[in-house]
């Protein structure tokens, strides 16, 4: 026993300093696909290979000229990289901190003038995600005030698997490992929704779990937060809506924060949870803002790690 203690003490601290320092993710890790919106010439090849319909294009014959609306929906994206394989304007990045406070915040759209041969050119408009950032920030401040006044700095989470493949659960388990050590933030996983402030829900919500999810939500005392995890939780993901599933979590219960990914890695989960409780600046999730490092990310300093 003493030998065991001696050896385990020798290992020392393995906990990551995220989010004080940026996430250490391998350069090869596949995260958000980055589209070169200004120089994108044709959305169709990428849309044709996308297995979840995360990349879509809609053409309209306008009165003056035909237009195309191209959309990248991170809530549907499973980061498979097939689009980047066929389209040089798309590049896979390791960026994983993508959580947003609204489903709309995960959709990126651009409008193009359509050419006769089906390609497109000339960016007409990119409704910038930053435009909604102000609204998001306002919503975020309100939520943050409400949560912090009620919960102080601790948070209790009940995880509900409403139909996932267990990939998200493996990563959520990772949050409890010494590497991510969620408890250093005063955040605990609890055994009952009665003890919870937040439901962390993975999907797609199956019809067989719909009732259980509704009951779990009802059993969680107000104020309660709901975080939808993974492509399946955000949008129904690779299975979508069929006879057996209802798809996205927000098809069944209201959702406060969406964490994309298939599955989201522990950094992405941590980012989403901290965003939900207002411990991160909402701007950090804005797709236009580069991920910042350092304590500036925090509106509150991190609790000391001792």
């Amino acid at each position: 026993m003493f030998e065991t203690l001696r050896q385990s003490l020798k290992i020392g601290v393995v906990t990551t300093s995220y989010p004080d320092t940026p996430a250490e993710v391998s350069r090869r890790a596949r995260g958000k696909p980055e589209i070169d919106w200004a120089n994108w010439r044709d959305a169709r090849p990428a849309a044709a290979v996308c297995p979840t319909g995360a990349i879509e294009c809609r053409d309209e014959a306008g009165t003056l000229a035909a237009t195309r609306t191209a959309t990248l929906d991170l809530g549907k994206c499973i980061f498979c990289g097939l689009c980047a394989d066929v389209d040089p304007a798309i590049r896979m990045t390791p960026q994983c901190e993508l959580a947003a406070r609204s489903r709309q915040g995960l959709r990126h759209t651009a409008q193009y003038a359509l050419n006769d041969n089906g390609t497109h050119q000339r960016l007409l408009a990119t409704p910038p995600a930053a435009a909604s950032a102000e609204a998001l920030a306002a919503a975020g401040r309100e939520l943050q005030t409400r949560i912090q006044s009620l919960l102080g700095r601790s948070l209790h989470i009940r995880e509900v698997d409403a139909g996932s493949c267990n990939g998200c659960e493996v990563e959520i388990h990772g949050l409890n490992s010494p590497v991510y050590d969620l408890e250093r933030f005063g955040i605990h996983f609890v055994a009952s929704p009665r003890h919870a402030d937040m439901l962390l829900v993975t999907g797609p919500v199956t019809r067989n779990m719909e009732l259980a999810l509704r009951k779990t939500y009802a059993a969680t005392p107000d104020p309660r937060l709901v975080v939808a995890v993974g492509a399946c939780g955000c949008s129904g993901g690779i299975f979508g809506v069929n006879y057996a599933t209802r798809g996205a979590v927000d098809a069944v219960i209201p959702v406060d924060v969406y964490i994309p990914g298939c599955p989201p890695n522990p950094h992405a989960l941590l980012h989403g949870i901290l965003l939900a409780i207002g411990r991160l600046s909402p701007y950090a999730s804005s797709p236009t803002a580069a991920p910042k490092s350092g304590r500036a990310l925090f509106q509150n300093p991190a609790p000391p790690q001792d």
């Binding site: 596949r30 267990n166 990939g167 996983f189 199956t206 067989n208 779990m209 259980a212 890695n265």
Partner: protein, 495 residues
């Protein structure tokens, strides 16, 4: 009975024309299957294929000692047939599933109820009928679908006399996502990605099985380099999950040093898979006709170094665990499944090997890279939690050794080849030894070469009954460690 008919033989990862599969009248087919099972065959798959106005029953059997598979079917029929379960209990869930999906009623089945209960009425799977023990001291405990831990949903119904569990019935189906139904008429654009999430922690095994099916239907196989890479990734998947399981077992008996260490090391193994293909679960690695990502020598060197230290860390964390008498005492003689029970219910994977059954697809039915490089089968008698933990520990060692050998002698060459379209009217079978055991995919194509029927059998489908038996006579407070010692998939079962 027509005695001239015999099951058609085939090897793992090959195909044969649907017309070459012998067809018996239903009752004779059950007898013929029972005869083969009596001869030592094992039931890998038993499912229905709609044909004309009725349904054909199809059986895929494994003769492990002969390294061969056998396929037979019934003529299409409707209504009832004599249950195979009455002679061979390993068919019990298969026959319930066929009844639920096609309405063929196995006469004499001792416990005929739906398996997943596709939910039309808002009725949860747990609202069905359960076996009940009556008596003054007897009480019933219902657990789930939402559990106390971070795990998938399922419902457990215990019949207890005080602490002692007399009977456990497990009702699943909560994770039913319509996986097999989505495959009909496929392969579709989303199919390969869906196969990677049949059971998200078993991505490589299910993806390899599916890719192998498409390759068998095209009458070819993946290039050697891809077979090698798939074998490497399969062992990394086993290492990550077994290490996580050992940590979870330690956690359940409150032995925290190993729990903490394994939590970190599992992440290390997942990161090694990410090093190969950019995703911690191996999404995007296995593709029909080969692999989607390669491992260049520079990263292979990095992988070797990190693997070495992760394996050393695992050995140290496990040594702490085995050294602690308090851990061993909790595991020994807890949740025992006998060798005979394991055989009768058709256990697979580490759960079977922990009952002393020598049963491992990598060894018994080698396909792909495992034809050239096999790992010894890790077996331990006893059938208790200790044995299941021991088999995992042995497999961690063997997988580590296997990876060292394979990384030292990589196959070179092409990573991916163009696949011909699937042959029409053909049945293909692929078995892969995932970390939980035998992953079985069976596909039948129609005249256009599209999937007419696609059957997936996750190892958990065979093994959930093992957990139920392990609980008999055990204290209900031992349920968590018994459950962890099996660590079965809910979504792989529910599909």
């Amino acid at each position: 009975m027509n005695t001239t008919l015999e099951f058609a033989l085939l090897a793992n990862a090959t195909s044969l024309p649907w017309t070459a599969i012998p067809a018996w009248p239903a009752a004779d087919f059950v007898l013929a299957t029972a005869t083969e099972l009596n001869r030592g065959a094992r039931l890998c798959a038993w499912f229905g294929v709609p044909e004309s106005a009725g349904t054909c029953l199809v059986a895929v059997l494994a003769f492990d000692a002969d390294n061969t598979l056998a396929v037979g079917r019934s003529q299409p029929f409707t209504g009832a047939y004599p249950a195979l379960t009455t002679i061979h209990p390993q068919a019990h869930l298969f026959e319930r599933e066929v009844w639920e999906q096609h309405g063929l009623k196995p006469e004499g089945h001792p416990w005929l109820k739906p398996v997943r209960r596709a939910n039309e009425t808002g009725n949860a799977p747990a609202n069905g009928e359960f076996f009940r023990v009556e008596g003054g001291e007897v009480h019933e405990v219902a657990v789930g679908p939402v559990h106390a831990g971070i795990i998938e949903p399922g419902h457990f119904r215990f019949q207890c006399a005080g602490e002692e569990v007399l009977h456990l019935e497990i009702a699943l189906g909560y994770q039913h996502r319509g996986v097999e139904e989505a495959l009909t008429g496929g392969p579709h654009l989303a199919t390969m990605c869906q196969m990677e999430t049949v059971a998200g922690d078993t991505t490589i095994a299910h993806a390899t099985a599916h890719a192998t099916i498409l390759e068998a239907l095209a009458g070819t196989e993946a290039p050697l380099r891809a077979q090698w890479l798939r074998a490497v990734a399969l062992e990394l998947e086993r290492l990550a999950n077994h290490t996580g399981d050992m940590g979870a077992l330690a956690g359940d008996v409150a032995f925290l040093p190993t729990l903490s260490a394994c939590g970190k090391i599992r992440g290390d193994f997942l990161n090694l898979t990410a090093l190969i293909c950019g995703n911690r679960f191996g999404r995007g690695l296995v593709r029909p006709g080969g692999c989607g990502r390669d491992l260049e020598s520079e990263r292979a060197t990095q992988l070797n170094e990190r693997l070495k230290s992760a394996l050393a860390d695992t050995q140290q964390a496990l040594a702490w665990f085995w050294d602690a008498a308090s851990v061993r005492a909790r595991f020994e003689l807890t949740g025992t499944v006998s060798h005979r029970q394991a055989n009768e219910i058709g256990l697979v994977g580490p759960a079977a090997r922990a009952c002393g059954l020598v049963r491992d697809v990598r060894y018994d039915h080698p396909a792909g890279w495992h034809r050239f490089a096999q790992a010894p089968v890790a077996v331990w008698p006893g059938g208790d939690v200790f044995a299941r933990a021991k088999v995992r520990a042995l497999e961690i060692e063997r997988s580590g050794e296997y990876l060292r050998e394979q990384m030292a002698a990589p196959a070179e060459g092409e990573l991916r080849s163009e696949l011909a379209p699937p042959a029409p009217g053909t049945l293909a079978v692929a078995l892969v030894e995932g970390w939980r055991g035998e992953v079985c995919h069976v596909a039948l194509t129609n005249a256009a070469g599209r999937f007419r029927r696609y059957k997936i059998i996750d190892p958990s489908f065979h093994n959930w009954m093992g957990l139920a038996l392990a609980l008999r006579g055990t204290a209900i407070s031992d349920f968590p460690i018994c459950n962890k010692s099996f660590n079965l998939s809910y979504c792989g079962f529910d599909l």
